[in-house]
Assembly symmetry: C2
Homo-oligomer: 200 residues x 2
């Protein structure tokens, strides 16, 4: 059925374009400041057409989050394939990747306190599955690093996990970048020092 398949392909491409716009706008302005009108204008379609693809603004944000989690999982799978690296190195590589995404303006930022958004995310199985996968992989590396003595065993794995997640929305990164005195690489290296010396 080439005709149907082609149509579906076009739809998929359009949805990908939508999610890409949402991802960028979420990174630029955050969820509350991003408007659906903006998204429609950025994609180049009418707002009503957007709602044929995604049922709400929250669904748009969820799709963007799923996208970034998929990219994170792909990156982590690449790291896991490298048998030589230590768990500590893997964790550091993940944190570095996270910061690079943020500095590139591609890390969607969601408010922690918006209840409608939280409700939408916590009831979205696709999102939760991926979040769980990321947490599981990181959790393995964390406990392995603690067993190897490279991460402080006085710090509960939960704390270490959250600390790594927090690197994805670290305001220090934004402030240093805004200062304009340091290169992206310098910023990342300094933050990796403060983060991982603190965990060691």
């Amino acid at each position: 059925m080439p005709k149907v398949s082609f149509r579906e392909q076009v739809l998929r491409a359009r949805e990908d374009a939508i999610v890409a716009s949402v991802n960028r706008l979420l990174a630029e302005k955050g969820f509350d400041m991003m408007t659906v009108d903006e998204v429609a204008a950025d994609v180049g379609i009418a707002k009503a057409s957007l709602y044929k693809h995604f049922s709400s603004k929250e669904a748009l944000a969820a799709a963007a989050m799923i996208g970034v989690l998929d990219r994170a999982l792909a990156h982590m799978a690449g790291l896991a394939a490298n048998a030589e690296a230590s768990p500590f190195d893997q964790l550091q590589a993940v944190a570095r990747w996270t910061m690079q995404v943020q500095l590139a303006g591609q890390m969607p930022s969601l408010p922690a306190q918006n209840s409608t958004l939280r409700a939408a995310l916590t009831s979205n199985k696709d999102y939760l599955d991926r979040l769980m996968s990321v947490s599981d992989q990181l959790g393995e590396w964390i406990t392995a690093a603690q067993a190897a003595g490279t991460i402080n065993t006085k710090l509960v794995p939960e704390l270490v996990l959250y600390t790594l997640f927090a690197r994805a929305c670290d305001p220090v990164l934004t402030l240093l970048k805004a200062g304009g005195q340091y290169s992206d690489e310098q910023i990342i290296e300094m933050l990796l020092i403060t983060c991982f010396n603190g965990l060691r």
Copy 2:
């Protein structure tokens, strides 16, 4: 003029009550989710009356921020009076205080990206003066600690300052608290370890 003075006292008290409500609601829901109607209802006055005291929602938030900066300055003045403590200890004490305020639900949280709010704050002299005072005092302790070798000299003071500021809105704190497995004091002590071992 006891009569006028009394009137002014009542006004002041009412404004203090307003700012206290705003502070709490900002901590609970954040700037975007907090509505002026809520503030009025919480204080127990009509919304129009609120606008006789504060000209805008942004002015309300600014007043709350000025309040917390004043409390921070008072706390730091107390620390500075203790001549025995090292600069490193002073910095740690400030971070601890910041986290305690946050865990007590009294740290107003503002979005970094709201442009109208940013404009209001960056053109508010009372706010900027206090922010500058806090930064100056922290900056002194930071350079002193670096001179004493207790803070890593490879980390530029700017980074250290931002890192300390970021403790006031650390999502790790919120997440661990939400987990409910650890006491406030345990959470704070673990976070102080990760923060200050990273700076050392």
